[in-house]
Structure formats: C-alpha cells, structure tokens
C-alpha cells in the first residue's frame, strides 16, 4: 500500500480492535498505533507477562468480553501493522506524528480512525494533589494490571459506574475499603428506572456490587459532598458532608475518586474535526455522524473518544466506522450488519442517558471549591487564580490560560480543563458553552525537546508547528 492509501487506527481498545478486525478481514492492512504494550485499552487492559491471575479476577463479569477482544486482536497481528508503546502526539495535514520505541516517525495517511478513549473526570478538591490520591480508573489499573492496592485503607468517592465496581474489586482482592461515598442520591435513580433497564444486566451488576459491599459491612453513603482530603505529606483522611449536612471524617491512607469519564479528543481537534459543546457530556466533543464520519475527509471517530458510551458501544462503533470507511472506498458493505449495530447502539444510548441522570455529575461542586484549592495540578494554578485573574473580560478559558498558566502544563489541561471551565463560568455568571474549551495543542503528550528537534530535522517544513 502506498503512503497515500494508508489507513491509520489510533488506539487498540474495544473500538480500535473491532475496526482493525473488519479492515484486515477485507484485505486492507491498517497501521494500529497504541500507547500500551498490549491491546485492550484501559477497560480491558492486560497484565504484564509473568502475571498469573485469571481474567475472571481482573475483569469480573466482563471477563469473557475481555478475553474475546484480546484473542481477536492477537489473531490480527500478521495482517496489520501494529505499533505498541507508541503515542500519536500530533496530527496535521493527513500526517500523524508518533513517538515510539524507535523514536519519532511521521505517518502519512489517507484515512484515520481515532479510537482515543476516555480518562477519568475529576473535580479538584482541597488536598487532591497529595500522595495517595488517585483517579478511580487509576486505582482500578493498580489492581488489574499490577496486583496492587493504592493504599492499605482506601476510600472511594464520586459517582458513576466504576465507583462500586472498583470498591468491590478492592474488597474482593483483600484490600481494606474505608468507605464508598457516592455523591448521587438514591432518589436520582427512581425517575429513570425504565431507561436503566435498557442497559439490561449492567444495572443488575451495579446493584450486586453494592449489595455485596453492604453485606461485608463496608460503609456506603449516598448524597455526600466531599469537603477536603486531609493530610500533610500524604493522605490521612477524607472529610465530607453527609446527606443531612453534618461534616464527617473517615480515616484512610488513600482516596480513589472520579465522576465517570470524559472523552479524550485532542487528536480529533488537531485532525480538523469540528468541535461542539455537548450539554449532557458537559464537554466539547468532535462532531461525527451515526457511522462515525467526522465531516473531515477520511477521518472517522469511534469509541469513548467520540462521546462516552462505554466498552460495548465502543466495539459497535469501531466496526461501524470501519464499515463507513469501506463504503466510502466503494467496497460492498453489509447493510443488515450496519442496521443491527445501530439498533444496539440506540439501546445503549438510552441507557447512557438514564445513567447520567441516575448518577448525576455534582453540578456546582467544582465552582464551590475555595480559592486556595489547586485546580491545575501541573502548574499549581488555584481556583482563586482562575476567578480573579486579570483581564478576563470576556471570560474565556484560553484567556484564563494565558494569564494564569492554567492548562499549560504537561497534561495540557486534560485533568483540570473541565472543572476550570465550570469555575470560570460560575464566577462570571455565564454558561459553560460560552467559556469555550482549552484548545488542543501539539504535542498532546510530552515530548523531549531533543526528540522534537529530530522531528524537525526529518521534516523541516513542519518544524514551525512543533
């Protein structure tokens, strides 16, 4: 295949795996770039070689799905150009720039399927930069991929599908669970029960985890508001307000927290996708149609990076995007299969909407944090800096970035951007959409300056953009 015909898939999670499966099955040889050493994405992340635990222990009810997806990908490696341990750090004019074991490479492509996944959605609260505080997903990875707990006595805080699951996995593996503190109230779930049933067994699993924890005597609390993570050199406790408004403290040496996940869409933005504010997701998302076509010639989006819908949906969306790509190339595609996948997605969409209402994001919590709370953990920018930065008229997040260094650190605003926008919007009495978004900038992952230099020498025309 010449450069001009290359198909590039970014990400080897559920969406990237299914896209690669379909395309390679049709005689195409996509390049699959993935940051991890093995396929599976974060949800079905594998343990390193030499680890022995059965899939059942690591993926619970999803073990069969995880193993099927891994087996699918492992069966493809002869038919794809697979590049593990490799990050895409920029995309420009149908060229992707990667950093992998062999250094920097530029990959010209004709078609691109972005399956960039999601990261935890966190709300900065006092103490969240202390050693011992981790994202919910991070706490799960420590256990799933390393056989470790992130502490000896771990408190779980937030809301979303991972909250009870990870607490259950920890307790099951022998860790001490200090408490599970859910910011959602039971009442939030009642009006949307019919929608929750659209998720079928997903609802039952969530209730099962809760019940198991309750029977083990783990402290489960709903309707809480976090106040602060306590500790000097490391975590020593978590202060929160219970449903009746009373302040409580639990002793713990680690906190795992998060409110669901948010899409990773910097690469879509760099690829030229139109970005639109999504009120339900509370973030700016790249626009794509039902098939994953992004509206930029040759660019397709699939999986949670194109709006969070979960791992099952990601498999469907990966296949749909590959089908769309094939049909764009004039290949025959199975329309029945396409309709089937869309029907399954429709059901999962109803479930997703219900989940968002049953486990709501705590509106106003980010905006209520005191002035001295660090928001941007890379640069140490506080909530007060964001509120009282100079010349923020009109209030817009890239102006705040320019004046405060918010989102200018190594993570490029990935961790703090959404919360910072909420703080800025609330303080200025404007809607979240009006605050804008931290624009995606290359490199989307840190790059040593010497390596950037190598890329510039290899491709002097593009040096200016690095």
């Amino acid at each position: 295949m010449s450069d001009e015909q290359k198909i590039l898939i970014v990400g080897a999670g559920p969406a990237g795996t299914r896209a690669a499966e379909l395309l390679s099955g049709r005689g195409l040889r996509p390049i699959v770039v993935d940051e991890a050493p093995a396929s599976g994405g974060q949800i079905y992340r594998r343990q390193p070689p030499g680890f022995l635990r059965a899939a059942r222990l690591r993926y619970c009810f999803e073990a069969a799905k995880a193993e099927a997806l891994h087996a699918c990908f492992d069966g493809l490696t002869e038919r794809i150009d697979y590049r593990p341990d490799t990050s895409v750090w920029s995309i420009e004019d149908n060229v992707a720039f990667t950093l992998g074991p062999g250094g920097v490479e530029r990959i010209p492509f004709e078609a691109l399927i972005l399956c960039t996944g999601a990261v935890d959605r966190v709300i900065p609260i006092p103490g969240w930069t202390l050693p011992g505080v981790f994202t919910m997903g991070g706490a799960q990875i420590a256990l799933k991929a390393q056989g470790c707990a992130v502490g000896r006595r771990v408190a779980f805080l937030g809301s979303g599908p991972l909250l009870y699951l990870v607490a259950y996995q920890y307790a099951r593996a022998g860790a001490s669970v200090a408490a599970v503190l859910d910011t959602a109230r039971l009442g939030d779930a009642l009006p949307v029960l019919p929608g929750l049933f659209a998720g079928g067994s997903l609802l039952a699993k969530g209730l099962w985890y809760q019940n198991w924890l309750r029977l083990k005597g783990v402290r489960l609390r709903r309707g809480v508001l976090p106040v602060a993570i306590a500790g000097e050199e490391r975590v020593s406790g978590l202060r929160y307000r219970s449903g009746n408004g009373r302040e409580r403290r639990i002793e713990c040496d680690a906190v795992a927290f998060g409110w669901g996940v948010k899409s990773e869409c910097q690469l879509a933005e760099l690829a030229g996708c139109e970005m639109r504010f999504d009120g339900a997701a509370r973030q700016w998302l790249p626009v794509s149609d039902d098939d994953g076509r992004a509206g930029v010639a040759g660019v397709y989006l699939a999986g949670d990076g194109a709006g969070v819908m979960g791992a099952d949906a990601a498999e469907y969306r990966g296949e749909l995007a590959a089908l769309a790509l094939l049909s764009e190339r004039g290949a025959a595609v199975d329309d029945r299969r396409r309709r089937y996948l869309k029907a399954r997605l429709g059901r999962l969409t109803r479930f997703r909407i219900a989940i968002d209402r049953a486990l709501p994001y705590p509106d106003g919590l980010a905006a209520a944090q005191p002035d001295d709370t660090i928001v941007c953990r890379c640069e140490g920018v506080t909530a007060g800096d964001i509120r009282h930065g100079q010349s923020l008229e009109p209030a817009e997040i890239n102006r705040a970035k320019a004046y405060t260094r918010l989102g200018m650190g190594r993570c490029q605003g990935r961790m703090c951007g959404l919360a910072a926008a909420e703080i800025l919007a609330h303080h200025n009495g404007v809607g979240l959409a009006e605050i804008g978004r931290l624009r995606g900038q290359a490199p989307v992952k840190p790059l040593h300056i010497g390596i950037a230099g190598q890329a510039a020498r290899d491709d002097p025309d593009r040096a200016a953009s690095i």
Binding site: E35, A36, Q42, Q47, P48, P49, G50, F51, L52, R53, S87, V119, D120, T129, L130, P131, G132, V133, F134, T135, G137, G138, A139, I141, A142, L143, Q146, G147, C148, A149, V150, G151, R152, A173, G174, A175, E232, E233, R234, D253, A254, E264, R377, C378, E379, G380, G409, R410, C411, R414, M415, K445, P446, H448
Partner: protein, 106 residues
C-alpha cells in the same frame, strides 16, 4: 528503602511469584518484581515519586502520580545522569537508577 516497606503507599495483594529485579532510587537499592511499573516499585517502597516543581519546597509538595494511564503526566521521575521517564507506563529493569528529589524532570 526496601521492597514493600510499611511506609509504602501501595500494597501488593497478589502476583508475588515473579523474578526479583533491583533498581536504585536516590542511591538506595529497591527490590522490585519483573513486570512492576516504576511507579509500583517506588510506591511499594515509599510514598512519593517526585517533587512538585512550582511549590515552595514544603512538605505538601510531594507528588505520587494520579491517573496511572499516561494521561496526567504527574509521575515523571528523573533518571540518574539525565533524562526522565513516566513512572506509570515504564517498567523496571535491572540497573535502573532514579532520583525523586527536587528539580524539573528533564
């Protein structure tokens, strides 16, 4: 510092049968297991990975990673003699020598 100290942030719950690997952290030997990430090895032995470079040098300026999936970039540690690595996505190897002290990760 030794493997799985009482002061360690992480607690190893399983997968203990892997071969041992010795790395050096701030000059001290740390015993890890093959397949441990650098973060796992460091946080089993202690409770910090690095110092926040824009803090005042106070006790609250230690950092110990956050996302474990290569997204937050809060776990870069320095390699002795120059260079740095992201602790949550790098694996231990025999002879690895790291420093967790102050200063910008390079």
């Amino acid at each position: 510092m030794s493997t799985e100290s009482e002061r360690g942030q992480f607690q190893r719950l399983s997968e203990t049968g892997r071969p041992q690997i010795t790395i050096h952290v701030d000059g001290e030997p740390v015993t890890a297991l093959a397949g441990d990430t650098v973060m796992t090895a460091l946080l089993l032995a202690g409770a910090r990975l690095r110092e926040f470079e824009f803090g005042g040098g106070g006790r609250r300026d230690a950092r110990a990673g956050f996302c474990l999936m290569g997204a937050c970039q809060d776990c870069w540690v320095n390699v002795e003699g120059g260079g740095s690595l992201r602790a949550c996505t790098s694996y231990v190897s025999e002879g690895l020598r790291l420093t967790t002290g102050g200063g910008e990760a390079r």
